[in-house]
């Protein structure tokens, strides 16, 4: 089964985190090695990090079908920071992987324990229908 692990940690109005260089480096190193671990275990399907929320635009179709974009979001609105899609044997394994990501080091090297939303990707097999 495939699961998407979504890290909703970015907030509008907040730019680059104001961490000491050492902590930032530790965080980046962790994320790199986490990605490698998933590749090596044969479980990674895809992973992407997203740009900061100031580059996000909300788009709707206007009457003529042309895009109407909306830009500056209210302070505090949560944004997707990045996601992983994994292909694993059990939901428990997806949760375990999410917990690893959640514990990425933050300021002072302490685990961030960020919330990771885990949801099945619609890729399951349909049963034989009678």
């Amino acid at each position: 089964m495939k699961y998407i692990l979504m890290m909703n940690t970015m907030r509008a109005g907040h730019g680059v985190p104001d961490w000491p260089n050492k902590d930032l480096q530790a965080h980046v190193a962790f994320m790199k090695s986490f990605g490698k671990q998933l590749r090596d275990s044969g479980e990674l399907v895809a992973a992407e990090g997203l740009a900061f929320p100031d580059q996000a635009r909300l788009v709707r179709a206007g009457k003529d079908g042309m895009p109407i974009t909306d830009g500056v979001f209210p302070e505090g609105k949560e944004f997707l920071a990045g996601y992983w899609i994994v292909d694993v044997e059990t939901p428990e394994r997806a949760y375990a992987i999410a917990a690893m990501a959640s514990a990425a080091p933050g300021p002072g090297g302490a685990p961030l324990n960020m919330p990771i939303e885990v949801r099945p990707v619609m890729s399951g097999p349909p049963p034989e229908m009678l």
Binding site: M1, K2, R39, D40, S41, G42, E43, L44, V45, A46, D87, E89, P120, V121, M122, S123, G124, P125, P126, P127, E128, M129, L130
Partner: protein, 417 residues
Amino acid sequence: MTFEGAALIPERLLRDLAPQVLGAVIRRFRDFDAAEDAVQEALVAASLQWPREGVPHNPRGWLIQVASRRMTDHIRSESARRRRETVMGLEVARTSVSTAVEAAPQQDDTLVLLFMCCHPALTPASAIALTLRSVGGLTTAQIAHAFLVPEATMAQRISRAKQTIKSSGVRFELPSAADRTERLAAVLHVLYLIFNEGYTASGGPELRRADLSHEAIRLARIVHRLQPDNTEAAGLLALMLLTDARRLARTSAEGELISLVHQDRELWDKHQIAEGVALLSDTLSKGAAGPYQLQAAIAAVHDEATRSEDTDWPQILALYDLLKRMSANPMIALNHAIAAAMVHGAREGLELLDALDSDPRLADHHRLDAVRAHLLELAGERDTAIRHYRAAAAKTANLPERNYLMMQAARLSSGHM
């Protein structure tokens, strides 16, 4: 990409030869992991060279020779790394290349390989990937494509599976007679999973996952040929043929699922049904039927009905009764309830479902809701049926099935019974 593309004959030939060549190379070099890589390289070399230059006079010998050369290179580079092994390694390699080519075909090698790739130490996903590569002769890219994961991920999965085989100390030989029945059951289960994977419509029509079903059928044919007296191997092959025969009728042009009742039976593959039925009749005459034969028999009863309303439900119910006694699989209990409803009325089916409510394996499963919705609809309880169709739609992880269930609910809501 299809598994059997334009260069049909060489690829088919290559894939038939793959396990034989691998068996021969493992016998000479006694290193499953490296031999498996070497044979893959030989297969790739052949797929590039043969269409251009023609198939060699002795294709099997050609492949063994090329793979053995790769093995020699491998041993040489390994030896360079570990100097103390240099002399010994090269000597093994030199003698091996010449003897490997002359070795007589080992019929049982394919079976030994299947036992190895479907070893109980492996997870199902690993066993499936390894079987498709080592026995099926598919490339890592083809397997990755079929399972919609990146090639690097699939390569890792296969490499880890080989490490697991290595560390579990499995020898390249047939399991002992005492273990063989159980181990063969594991092989059949892996082939069954490959078939099911291909039988899903989850990936959309352009993805050609049907090739996985065809590959499962090809491998099941090989197992049946090597173990003609194993009635479950024959039963599994019959089940695959009888189920796959309905493939074209099972989805609409838009990729939507069509239930058995509404399928255009003209689209069913008559030849494949005839083959499956003949195989099954032959097998059933050999004695007590196992679960695969019973499932095949049920598929045959469906296939033999010219119209949905001609289906011999009492016969299907009797077969599910037998199957239920043999297997604790809750999906069988669900199908049994449907058959009971078709024979004795929806009420009886619903009562059987009530007994399944306490089964923890079905607690969060959409299928219980889907079947209940179907039987409630038959019983004329529209509102409750709608509720259960919706509950099932919310729980399934398959997109075409979710669409199907949502549309069932919508159809009832708008008053079309």
